[in-house]
């Protein structure tokens, strides 16, 4: 077993860290407060191929690998979980299914501009009545000559309203349950496609979470992704990879909070000595560091399996379950260690705590991860 990263991955980490510190961190608190989508940083990430890390150069990507991508999400999320999820949703949930299931023509038309970062992507599965129960979606697509006509709505769509290209799931055959679901590539300017409510959220406040509305939205037949009826499989396998991205985001949030807290407790004095000198607090720090390290190993392991073409369904679920729990636990304790200061917006840990919560919910709640893990273990 070899725990060393490649030289390329190490340099990716160094550059992502520098980019995060210099470009992302300075605006993180402000965009959170205003709920402002950081378009300028999306453009900067595009410039440096950060929006297409694991895809081949011929498809507009950086020619990197899954591990480098995970490291990028982790480093960005250390300072700003919002920017982390923009990157993760775009890469894992929009680029990846086109790369994996798209025709050559679809890759040329959609993957290249996405991986280059000229366009931003999103993934639209969830509906008001179909969250964890994804098979229950009610959006329908009806074939009409050379087009599909899409009707229905999606909610809680990350990058919604900001993205240019959406992977949308709809029923093409209501009689067939999960096998009646198909995936479509939908550009934002398709007639009949509009953006509805933008959510006002607890955390990751600068990411756009939107409702998508399809009213007789016309999609050319060529935009069917994969075969008709394969949509559910595409959605589930996409989410398997997406979970690694969210697990990396959770890991980054936890690590970022711990870094801030270590700095704080070394400076903050009570009873005439720095907080870091109190053994009870040291124990908390030790536990947090250990849990984060365990989370990191799970996340990297899942990325490693994906990179090597090994199964990663269970590994991704475990990584996300554990990293999300750890992020929530660590950020809560970090706020605690900051005392009253931690509860104010003068310190970033309260934002990190709010941001951490979503990692237990989206791209499969922790309970969904437990279902996936149990299904694997009890096979």
């Amino acid at each position: 077993m070899d725990f060393t990263l490649s030289k390329e991955q190490e340099m990716v980490r160094k550059v992502m860290k520098e980019f995060a510190e210099k470009e992302v961190k300075p605006i993180a608190a402000d965009i959170d407060k205003r709920g402002r989508f950081p378009r300028e940083n999306v453009e900067k990430m595009a410039k440096y191929n950060m929006l297409g890390i694991p895809f081949p150069v011929e498809y507009g990507g950086a020619g990197g690998d899954d591990m480098a991508y995970v490291i990028a999400v982790e480093e960005i999320s250390k300072v700003c979980a919002t920017t982390g999820v923009i990157l993760s949703a775009h890469t894992s949930l929009a680029c990846w299914p086109i790369f994996t299931y798209g025709t050559e023509e679809q890759k040329q038309n959609y993957l290249i501009p996405l991986a280059r970062g000229e366009k931003l992507g999103a993934f639209a599965l969830t509906e008001p009545n179909a969250g964890t129960d994804a098979a229950g979606i009610q959006t329908v697509a009806v074939l009409d000559g050379n087009n599909y006509i899409l009707n229905g709505s999606k909610i809680f769509i990350t990058n919604g309203g900001q993205a240019d290209i959406y992977i949308v799931f709809a029923k093409t055959d209501k009689t067939k349950g999960t096998r009646g679901i198909s995936a479509f590539i939908v550009e934002k300017d398709r007639p009949g496609f509009s953006i509805g409510k933008i959510e006002d959220k607890m955390g990751i406040r600068a990411s756009s979470t939107a409702e998508l509305i399809f009213r007789d939205c016309i999609i050319p037949k060529e935009n069917l992704l994969g075969k008709e009826g394969k949509g559910f499989k595409i959605a589930m396998s996409t989410l398997d990879g997406g979970r690694i991205g969210i697990a990396a985001q959770a890991l980054g949030i936890g690590e970022g909070a711990l870094e801030e807290t270590i700095k704080f407790i070394k400076e903050r004095q009570q009873f005439g000595r720095p907080l870091a000198k109190f053994q009870g607090l040291q124990w908390m720090i030790a536990d947090m560091a250990t849990n984060l390290e365990a989370a990191r190993l799970l996340v990297y392991r899942a990325a490693f399996n994906k990179m090597k073409g090994l199964p990663y369904n269970k590994e991704a679920a475990m990584a996300k379950l554990f990293a999300a729990n750890t992020a929530m636990d660590v950020t809560t304790k970090c706020v605690q260690l900051h005392g009253g200061y931690g509860y104010t917006k003068d310190y970033p840990v309260e934002r990190m705590m709010r941001d951490a919560k979503i990692t237990e919910i989206y791209e499969g709640t922790s309970q969904v991860q437990q279902m996936v893990i149990a299904a694997n273990v009890l096979k």
Partner: protein
């Protein structure tokens, strides 16, 4: 057009810790970076490459084997190739010996139009190697550059002084030392990183490859020696703490300063 950029790999001095007893640097765990001013030098070269056709940018460094990573990073940023001078014979070089070795390497490269260096390195802060290279090569230099325009075979540079600036013009070839005000360096792109590690973009040269006599470089070729190093001493003040509410503290301070006739 050939542009040579001299870069140095340095410990990040913001992270440097000193062993107070020995007066030496604790290098362990200190990240190595491309010297910040050298990134401005590289950025300026890359901007010329972006603007004009047929520009080749060569990053040149002298240092231990691990300095190769600094050159790879330079290639990832957009340099065409990197050359590392790596040889035990170069160890212990002061600025004179360093500039001698780098100048020899530049002669070895052959044709060049502009040499860019950073104004100074954060570990040594001398700012000497650039001008010394220019002298070894008998070309003009413009230091402290914070604005640069290339016009045909001539440059026009804004050169910072403490009390203003000079506008300086010179024909190519010449040497420029870049300050932070010159530009905002780009990051290496992720694609650039993966490409930079492929193939042999970095050439490693020894003193013998350059045909330099060993007595001219390294410790032997260095006119200066470090006779001792130590941590800076501090002068303790006679501290008077001023307590109370912020208002009481502020007024207390004003009283003290007035009594001491400072204000």
């Amino acid at each position: 057009m050939n542009i040579i950029v001299c870069i140095k790999q340095v410990p990040d001095t913001n992270e440097v810790k000193i062993d107070p007893d020995k007066g030496t640097l604790i290098r362990e765990g200190v990240p190595s970076i491309i010297n910040p001013d050298d990134k401005n030098a590289l950025e300026e070269a890359l901007r010329i490459k972006d603007e004009y056709e047929d520009v080749r940018v060569i990053a040149l460094s002298m240092g231990p084997a691990q300095a190769e990573l600094a050159l790879i990073e330079a290639v990832a940023m957009g340099a065409d190739e990197g050359i590392l001078l790596n040889d035990k014979a170069f160890a212990g070089s002061d600025t004179w010996a360093t500039s001698t070795a780098l100048a020899e390497a530049i002669k070895n490269i052959g044709e060049f139009d502009i040499i860019f260096c950073g104004q100074q390195a954060i570990d040594g802060d001398t700012g000497q190697v650039g001008p010394q290279i220019a002298e070894h090569l008998n070309i003009p230099q413009i230091t402290y550059v914070e604005g640069l325009k290339l016009e045909a075979s001539k440059v026009r540079a804004k050169r910072r002084l403490e009390d203003g600036y000079f506008i300086i013009e010179a024909e190519l070839p010449l040497l420029i030392t870049a300050t932070k005000a010159l530009n905002q360096p780009r990051y290496p792109s992720i694609r650039g990183i993966y490409e930079a590690f492929k193939g042999d973009r970095i050439k490693v040269l020894t003193a013998k490859d350059l045909g330099i006599e060993e007595y001219k470089v390294g410790l032997k070729g260095s006119p200066t020696r470090v006779s001792r190093s130590f941590t800076p001493e501090l002068k303790a003040g006679d501290l008077v703490m001023i307590e109370g509410s912020p208002k009481e503290q502020a007024e207390g301070l004003i009283v003290k300063l007035r009594e001491a006739r400072i204000i």
